[in-house]
Subunit: 207 residues, 2 copies
DNA sequence: ACCGACCTAGGACTAAAGTCCAATTTACTT
DNA sequence: AAGTAAATTGGACTTTAGTCCTAGGTCGGT
């Protein structure tokens, strides 16, 4: 369940680059894993991996931009840092538009690279935290019965119990029961909390 | 009060580029204003301007990136499209990191440029809409007295009137009065609405 | 000194929501 | 067929919140 320990995943077809990267990153205490191709990385990566990705733009077979695209398609959300010897403006623009953390040209200054890595790791921590929060939230919401979910929509829309009852063709008494169960299942101590929880989960209000 | 009509602001030191841009943009019905330098643009621009900015990266005096920086400092939030004849990867990365919509190299394809402009205008519409919403919201909040603002914090934290009363050293009765005034001033028909409004305004809950 | 805001507060209710209790009807699973 | 989760409802209250109306005290500005 808990994501793997954060690491820097280096994807480069040049063995000497992989070696140099590994040495540099390890020297500052960062776990590193290297891959000789995008294919090799994709075959092993899972959505549980955390950390960041450092990838060469131009490689035989699948290039860095294609890899970035494939990651999105597979729900693998690792911040990407591009590294390249022959970068072009259009390529860097495409990469940045696609959400890359940085786009560096070889030879790259050690400090510049480490700064980018730390920024990427920080971004991933934030993303993973948000992700975990959302998952916990939806897990709680999954405990609601269909009817309770309907009632929830009325509550967070500011409707009175009697209004919800009329709209759902039942009585105020029943709504109160559902309401109490909702508060209990979602562990909300107040309506204010409930509204914020629903807001975070993106539950739509009525009308 | 209402922002000026959206236009495309072209900043380029080359008169022929300004002319060409003006012709192209006008041909698709877009209002255009041209400037020969970043300085000239900054001297005239106000936060009310809406639309987008198309700026040459390299110009005598202040360059495009500096202009982008100055805009932020002056609360002028126009989406920026960079145009350049001699773009470098680091420059494009810096521009994109700073939030540029696109970074295009001359000679640029008409359609590519128009696509970027439309995207920028769309982004600006969204930003201006959000901005207006936030302003209206803070305007309403400004109607609250200091005491009402304190009470509001308790309400959106899910506290009972009696709890707020105890904490503020007053009576439940008084809290009810404040509460009613808050709902009226903020034009909220329900607690759910109030919580969402406060959330949007970024009002902190207690503890 | 007077005005207008702001904060205060009591009386007297009405209405809405929450809390115990217990109970019935379905729909679906084992 | 028995068991279970879900949805339903009633009774009997207690708590909270909201609604009128009225009204005292404080303060800063004219």
């Amino acid at each position: 369940m808990s994501p793997a320990k954060p690491a820097v995943y280096v994807v480069d077809d040049d063995p000497s680059v992989r070696g140099a990267m590994k040495r540099l990153l390890k020297s500052v205490g960062l776990p590193v894993k290297t891959f000789a191709s995008a294919r090799e990385f994709l075959d092993q990566a899972t959505p549980e991996w955390s950390g960041c990705l450092m990838v060469d733009l131009r490689m035989p077979g699948m290039g860095g931009l294609d890899l970035q695209y494939q990651l999105n398609a597979r729900q693998i959300s690792l911040p990407v840092i591009f590294l390249t010897g022959y970068g072009t403006v259009p390529a860097s623009v495409r990469a940045m538009k696609a959400g890359a953390v940085d786009f560096l040209e070889k030879p790259v200054d050690d400090q510049t690279l480490l700064d980018a890595v730390h920024k990427a790791l920080e971004r991933d921590r934030g993303a993973k935290r948000d992700q975990a929060e959302m998952q916990a939230l939806h897990q709680r919401l999954a405990a609601l019965t269909p009817r309770e979910y309907e009632v929830l929509a009325f509550i967070i829309s500011g409707r009175l119990n009697k209004q919800a009852a009329a709209a759902l063709g039942t009585t105020e008494k029943t709504i109160k029961v559902h309401r109490a169960r909702i508060m209990e299942k979602l562990r909300c101590a107040s309506l204010a909390e409930l509204v914020r929880l629903a807001e975070k989960a993106g539950i739509k209000t009525l009308d």
